[in-house]
């Protein structure tokens, strides 16, 4: 049987992320990311065979099924256009669907775009549609995840301030990323600690912002990667997994779907020791404590030990396993784009194109996304070398 086509990331384009991008329309926002990705790839819209889009649920913007009207702005008229839906992990899943079209030799050059314009609506309201079979608690995403963070803190017996350390690291990393939404040069351990406790144990400064923004990537086959204008990132493995949100025995601190997704993607990439072999990780951390939680779920630390890597500075930009050099979701969160930003930033790192937040010598990187009630997972491993 012929092997699958190799997939190369040859272009990445991002918008400036901001609470309100009042200076562009939604199509304009997407075009900003798309044109930058095409510029990076040395291509024009006419070179693209198909477009794969992803964004979080339509209630988040109050704009239903925007993809047909965006087709023109994205140069997708007359081309296959596909939309992917997996809640907050959608950016990652969308990139994987796009890469799958290349891997399966359906298309040679695929444009993939993730976005959110959170300023258009009340995302928290969209998350809280009343159902008659459950209690009406409008508590937002933080209210959903905070009890699991509390459970993690109790199980792992981690010091109370690990979340503060994560937030401080990510927001300082964001100062090196011109596209990041939050640039807070004066942020400090104390300012985070003193910020309002929104969903005890989650503080305001340990929470992701609401952002407008988009990211686009151009994916090609092996020939496209060989001919790329700039060094490409090669896809070494990709996988998604999901699990039912309400299943007896489900562990929402370290979901099985996340562990299995990581095992699959590592097996594809030939990774047996992720801590040793991966050079950098872009991980979906919307609330600070998810860094240590995912470090365990993704096999970088033993169960109960994730927080020790954070505490020792292992995940800092100059540590031996930098996590979220871009500043992560804690610094920019256009929800539907956030997963793809993790995938795109991983690609930028192994291409040596990450600018001031570049990790020296990064050759192999993990991009990670999760969504829903921690029930959707999407991951890819990209490398500077061909798989």
């Amino acid at each position: 049987m012929a092997r699958n086509e190799r997939v190369a990331v040859v272009g990445v384009g991002q918008t400036k992320y901001a609470a309100t991008r009042g200076d562009v329309s939604l199509p304009g926002l997407l075009r900003e990311a798309v044109f930058r990705a095409l510029d990076d790839a040395g291509m024009a819209m006419g070179d693209i065979d198909a477009v794969v889009l992803g964004k979080a649920p339509d209630f988040f913007e109050g704009l239903m099924m925007p993809e047909p009207y965006l087709a023109d702005a994205l140069g997708a008229v007359g081309k296959p256009l596909l939309r992917v839906h997996t809640a907050g992990s959608v950016g990652g899943s969308t990139a994987i669907v796009a890469a799958g079209l290349v891997e399966a030799r359906v298309h040679r050059r695929v444009l993939t775009v993730g976005w959110q314009m959170q300023s258009c609506s009340e995302a928290m309201w969209a998350l809280s549609l009343p159902m008659p079979f459950q209690q009406q608690l409008v508590a937002g995403a933080g209210g959903y995840f905070a009890p699991f963070i509390r459970a993690y803190m109790q199980r792992s017996e981690a010091p109370d301030d690990i979340g503060i350390l994560v937030a401080l690291k990510d927001r300082r990393n964001a100062l090196k990323n011109p596209y990041a939404h939050l640039h807070e040069p004066d942020i400090s351990y104390d300012s985070i600690k003193e910020s309002l406790m929104l969903w005890d144990p989650i503080r305001y400064a340990e929470t992701c912002p609401s952002s407008d923004g988009a990211i686009a990537m151009v994916l090609t086959d092996e020939a496209g990667g060989d001919a790329a204008a700039r060094p490409p990132a090669w896809v070494h493995g990709m996988a998604f997994r999901s699990e039912p949100v309400m299943a007896v025995g489900r562990d929402e601190v370290s979901p099985l779907a996340g562990r299995q997704c990581a095992a699959d993607v590592y097996a594809q990439a030939g990774i047996t020791d992720p801590r040793e072999q991966l050079d950098v990780v872009e991980m979906y951390v919307p609330f600070s404590w998810y860094e240590p939680m995912w470090l365990e779920n993704l096999g970088f630390a033993e169960v109960g030990d994730g927080w020790k890597l954070t505490e020792k500075g292992v995940t800092a930009l100059d540590g031996d396993l930098p996590v979220n050099p871009s500043g992560g979701v804690l610094s920019s969160n256009p929800i539907g784009a956030s997963g793809m930003i993790r995938f795109g930033e991983a690609a930028l790192q192994v291409r040596g194109q990450a600018g001031e937040h570049q990790v020296d010598g990064a050759r192999l990187a993990l991009g990670h996304a999760y969504g829903g009630g921690a029930q959707f997972f999407a991951m890819w491993v990209v490398g500077a070398d061909k798989p």
């Binding site: 044109f35 309201w125 008659p132 459950q134 209690q135 608690l137 199980r155 596209y179 309400m246 007896v248």
Partner: protein
Amino acid sequence: MSEIAELPEGLWYQPDVDTSQIPAIAGVEAVRSIRVPARVEYLYTPGRAPTRFLRALAEKRIMGERCPVTGKVYVPPRGVSPVVGLPTEEQVELGHRGTVTTFCVVDIAFTGQVTETPFVSALVLIDGADITLHGLIQGIPPADVRPGMRVEAVWVPDDELSTSFENIRWWRPSGEPDVDPDTIREYL
């Protein structure tokens, strides 16, 4: 810090509106956005299992359904065991008390919020069930809530009972001794 890439050719940003040339509106701040209240109403059609659950709630009973393979009891029942994919047909009447497994204290107000802040949002393992439900905890200062705490349902008056989970207004401490949190570790 490095700079954002230049805007690609052919794109432009929306220029600020210049009102100074029109005397009638000179000095008026340009409108950048408007807030439009939105409302969505829908008829909810429950399936067979949620129908059984909701009708029982109207009789002040909490009904779960048992997975035919694992024996685990689901509430609210959705008619199928998500673990084995088979129908959950056996009805199991659950208690009106439960145990807090974990929780958070919500101190942020959102549009549409029905409860005064701060309030405790907890996961409650109802007696007889094998899965937790989100529940509001009242009748105790938030700082005193803890995993393993026993709670009881506070129902609306009988003449207000309907086919809705709103029948349970919240959960309050039952006064029973705490459950050892280690014994409920597998339930989050």
